[in-house]
């Protein structure tokens, strides 16, 4: 009963209708029934929950997801920066795109509309179907159609055995094969593969769990960032985090309380081959305690694929770099600054830039209060000469660390009370120091010092540490989404690998003596197995109902019952719908408008 070449011009082959009843697919309705607003509302609802509309919505969903993969999105990693850069490059279309929410596709009105409609359709389709399926489970398999030899898969033979005994044997055999079988009115009706429907319903229902997990996460999660130099620690509060993005149910006050300290950081890099410099290992050694109980201090490590879970948050390692330890002395030789300053990597070899702000310098050589600022580069592996390249690191490992500094004096702007970027020097009120008629600049190896011009004192490159940056993420709903995913897979397996099928057996005493045995099977069109299953059953049944010698007669009577293809008018006649028997125990069949009894082919 493969029906793969069905043409749209032709009326759909009736067997489709019969097979459809083996699925939970809703019945397609043609037009509004009844009049007035209620009729239309009902019609629209029917349309929305029809398979055709589900198909269209699914198609739209995949189309609608495309633009977000080609245009930078706010919600992606570093989204803000990328979106701004893109907007600058496409100034003319950017406002239009912004209006169309193309930088925010996955939370846009139109994308949401599609998936909300899809899920409404899904609910409208699946929930009634679930009840209907429960009804099917409670009732018996639909009774045998009157003429089994008109079914798409059938077998017939004649036997001398008693009809009742053949039916009883068929009933027994079908049960043994795991069918739900039911013997009444001189025929056996049996059905198997209910797990397919269970799987299908489970799959669709678990999509709701997935959606729920997503929704909860977007309402109640938050992420913060924190950069720490080796030896530093912090408490997870809004004041100590570098940045924080909260949501409605996880705001500044809701941060999971814990303490985390970076004890040390290990990095390894590829040292040869064409991928030289590629990162091979990053490990942050940390200690932490959840809540406020310092006595519970524990040691642990955080790696790229191995976040650390503390309280309700997970801490991810997302970046690393170097922090040169720099000390500054004023003209009198007093240490006015000493600290490890994180420099930010600019390329794969960790050429890093950073600034040092000496805001408590005190009085300058001219006796006025002043401040010093330094900007520069840290190169973990410096080249012998900067000729032609400028200061660029050759390798991300610390093989030949050097510090390149420019010195400024003046007003850093730190006293204005406005928040400042710690990685940038606001040079508006600063002037670069001058040494030998050139802007003051120095290239320092580890441990080297630099005497500043004009009696400003000195700077020393004392050493360096590594820093690591962390993403602190609180995301509930993961477990729900995961459960939804796992159930979805299980449901799919049931839905796609299990065949739901029906088998009917009828043995009737013939007027001239002897018994005619008829078997028929019905399954979805994708399965060829039903024929084999029917054959196996028939072979088994022949133990109880051996075929009579005059096989040909049986074959002939089959011919009578169902005209051969050559005489039929096209495909419809041969692959006839089972006529409904009118037996009241077939509720599904008799109420199904998709399967009209084909009057024309009645003899």
């Amino acid at each position: 009963m493969s029906n793969t070449t069905t043409e749209t011009e032709q009326p759909p082959a009736p067997e489709d209708g019969a097979a459809e009843r083996l699925s939970t697919a809703p019945v397609e309705s043609d037009g509004p029934t009844g009049i007035g607003a209620f009729g239309w509302a009902r019609w629209m609802w029917r349309q929305l929950t029809s398979m055709r509309v589900a198909l269209i919505l699914l198609f739209l969903l995949s189309l609608a997801a495309i633009p977000g993969s080609l245009i930078p999105q706010y919600q992606n990693g570093q989204g803000q920066l990328k979106v701004e850069a893109w907007k600058a490059r496409h100034a003319t279309v950017a406002p239009v795109y912004e209006k169309l929410q193309l930088f925010d596709v996955y939370s846009s009105v139109w994308f949401s509309a599609i998936y909300i409609l899809l899920f409404v359709s899904l609910a409208g389709c699946i929930v009634p179907r679930t009840w209907q399926f429960v009804g099917v489970l409670r009732s018996q398999p639909p009774a045998a159609p009157r003429n089994l030899t008109r079914m798409p898969v059938h077998a017939v033979w004649r036997t001398e055995a008693d009809a009742d005994r053949v039916n009883a044997a068929a009933h027994r055999l079908l049960r043994k094969r795991g069918f739900r079988a039911h013997l009444s009115g001189g025929a056996v009706a049996a059905e198997k593969g209910y797990l397919r429907e269970v799987g299908n319903l489970l799959f669709h229902l678990s999509l709701f769990a997935l959606l729920g997990g997503f929704a909860w996460a977007s309402l109640a999660s938050g992420t913060g960032g924190k950069l720490m130099v080796e030896g530093e620690g912090y408490s997870n509060t809004i004041t100590q985090l570098d940045d924080f993005n909260g949501t409605r149910f996880y705001g500044n006050q809701d941060l999971d309380p814990f303490y985390l300290k970076l004890n040390g950081f290990t990095s390894k890099f590829q040292t040869k081959g064409d991928q030289i410099g590629a990162a091979r290992q990053f490990t942050a050694n940390v200690e932490y305690y959840a809540g406020g109980d310092e006595s519970k201090l524990k040691k642990s490590t955080i790696e790229v694929n191995h976040p650390l879970e503390i309280g309700g948050s997970k801490v991810y390692l997302i970046g690393h770099g170097y922090a040169p330890v720099i000390s500054v002395k004023n003209g009198k030789g007093d240490v006015v600054y000493r600290g490890a300053v994180p420099f930010l990597p600019q390329d794969g070899n960790l050429t890093s830039t950073g600034v040092v702000k000496v805001s408590d310098y005190g009085l300058g050589p001219d006796g006025n209060k002043t401040q010093l600022g330094f900007s520069g580069f840290f190169l973990p592996t410096a080249p012998l000469s900067f000729e032609g390249t400028g200061p660029v690191s050759l390798f991300p490992g610390d093989a030949a660390p050097e510090l390149v500094l420019n010195a400024f004096s003046g007003d850093l702007g730190t006293d204005s009370g406005l928040p400042q970027n710690v990685y940038q020097l606001n040079t508006r009120k600063l002037t670069q120091l001058v040494q030998d008629g050139e802007p003051a600049k120095a290239r320092l190896k580890l441990g080297e010092g630099w005497t500043l011009p004009d009696g400003y004192g000195s700077v020393t490159f004392e050493g360096y540490k590594q820093w690591a940056s962390f993403n602190v993420s609180h995301r509930p709903g993961n477990a729900i989404a995961l459960a939804g995913g796992v159930l979805a897979i299980l449901g799919l397996i049931g839905s796609l690998f299990i065949q739901r099928r029906r088998i009917w057996v009828r043995a009737v005493a013939l007027p001239g003596g002897g018994t005619q045995v008829e078997l028929a099977g019905l399954a979805r069109s994708e399965s060829a197995k039903i024929a084999e299953e029917l054959a196996e059953l028939a072979v088994d049944l022949q133990d109880d109902a051996p075929a009579s010698e005059e096989e040909d007669d049986a074959a002939a009577s089959e011919e009578d019952a169902a005209p051969a293809a050559s005489e039929g008018e096209g495909g419809a006649t041969e692959t006839d719908v089972p006529e409904e028997t009118g037996v009241p125990t077939a509720p599904e069949a008799s109420s199904d408008p998709a399967v009209p009894a084909d009057q024309k082919s009645k003899e």
Binding site: T5, T8, L58, S62, V153, T271, R280, A538
Partner: protein, 375 residues
């Protein structure tokens, strides 16, 4: 500063040589298949292969009194019927299965037709494919050994494994005596194409992985993705052939003597029936869909561990999702009245196009977090 763990350059080199050798052998297999198709057209293409007709008659003859014999009639799409006959010797459990098919859904006799030379060429082609696959497998294993990790860390390795998955799937089908030799030419062609792109455009030296890829999920997520890709590819070929054969059938019905796009009718006649292709592509897609779902979920779990969010609408994730929805669309279409047949097939093609774009397009043209070493 510690040194990263080393790469064994000899093994890495051996791996490259094995992959190149496999490509040479596949090329020879391709020529052998072409010879098979060419010679096959000279032999008479029987509408019903003799073998089939013969065995059917035989069963009827041997079904003596003592044997139990059942004939199941199956109604076909075009109004014809096919039959399936099963006999069992009474008293003994053993059953003999014979299936015969009616004229309605006749599978063609295969590429070789009834020509013996062509058949020989076909057998040689299959042997060469086996040899190629062995070399290919060797190339993948040595690549993995050279760095002591799973050999799918970048697009080059991914492509090699993917081409292998496809060839292996085809050979497994052959080994289980399925009638799939007609798949030989398209499979070898697709494998060569994939390997060709891998060795020229995507090649990177054998190296250790960036830390983001240090995860057991690499083995799980990526290997299932490779398998799914191979299977989707096979289903894609079957879908194309279904569309071709279906057009051919229609053209024949309309009295035309050539296949679609001016192809020779002899080729189409030797191929299996349209419904066979259609069922095959549906079965493969349906089989793979749950695994593809799993691949995406495994990827999400990995993303959660690596980046802190299981779903970020990164381009790769987005396209996996698009591909998933497209295949869901196809499966839905099969279950929707009026969408079976060609319309569903077009959806399957669109879904595979999404898969291809996800693989090549996203990796090469779109930047996202799914950056592999090299490409």
């Amino acid at each position: 500063m510690q040194l990263a763990s080393a790469v064994d350059p000899q093994l890495a080199d051996l791996s490259n040589k094995l992959i190149y050798s496999a490509m040479v052998v596949y090329t020879l297999a391709m020529f052998a298949h072409m010879i098979e198709w060419t010679f096959g057209s000279r032999g008479a293409v029987a509408v019903r292969s003799k073998e089939q007709a013969g065995s059917l008659a035989e069963t009827v003859a041997t079904a003596e009194k003592k044997a139990k014999k059942v004939t199941v009639t199956v109604a076909g799409a075009g109004g014809g019927t096919t039959t399936l006959t099963r006999t069992a010797v009474a008293g003994e459990g053993a059953t003999v299965v014979t299936s015969g098919r009616g004229a309605d859904e006749e599978d063609g006799p295969g590429a070789a037709g009834t020509n013996e030379k062509a058949d020989l060429a076909g057998r040689i082609a299959v042997s060469l494919t086996v040899l190629g696959a062995v070399l290919h497998a060797g190339g993948i294993v040595t690549r993995g050994l050279s760095v002591s990790r799973w050999p799918w860390g970048n697009m080059y390795e991914f492509s090699c494994a993917f081409a292998f998955a496809m060839t292996a799937a085809y050979l497994v089908l052959l080994a289980t005596r399925k009638n799939v030799r007609w798949l030989g030419l398209p499979v070898v062609l697709a494998g060569l194409l994939t390997l060709g792109i891998a060795t020229t455009v995507l090649y990177t030296d054998s190296e250790q992985l960036v830390p983001a890829l240090h995860s057991p999920w690499l083995a799980i997520h990526v290997s299932t993705a490779i398998f799914c890709g191979g299977a989707f590819y096979a289903a894609f070929i079957a879908t194309l052939l279904y569309l071709g054969k279906d057009s051919f059938d229609k053209r024949t019905a309309a009295g035309l003597t050539t296949g679609p796009l001016g192809t020779s009718a002899s080729i189409w006649r030797r191929l299996p029936a349209a419904s066979t292709f259609d069922k095959l592509s549906y079965r493969i897609n349906a089989l793979v869909f749950p695994l593809w779902t799993f691949t995406i979920i495994a990827g999400a779990i990995w993303a959660e561990a690596a980046w802190g969010k299981y779903w970020e609408w990164d381009p790769k994730e987005t396209w996996s999702f698009i591909t998933w929805v497209a295949y869901a669309c196809y499966l839905h279409a099969r279950a929707t009245a009026g969408w079976k047949g060609r319309k569903a097939a077009y959806l399957a093609l669109a879904a595979f196009a999404c898969w291809l774009f996800n693989y090549y397009g996203v990796n090469i043209f779109v930047t996202g977090k799914h950056s592999y070493a090299g490409i």
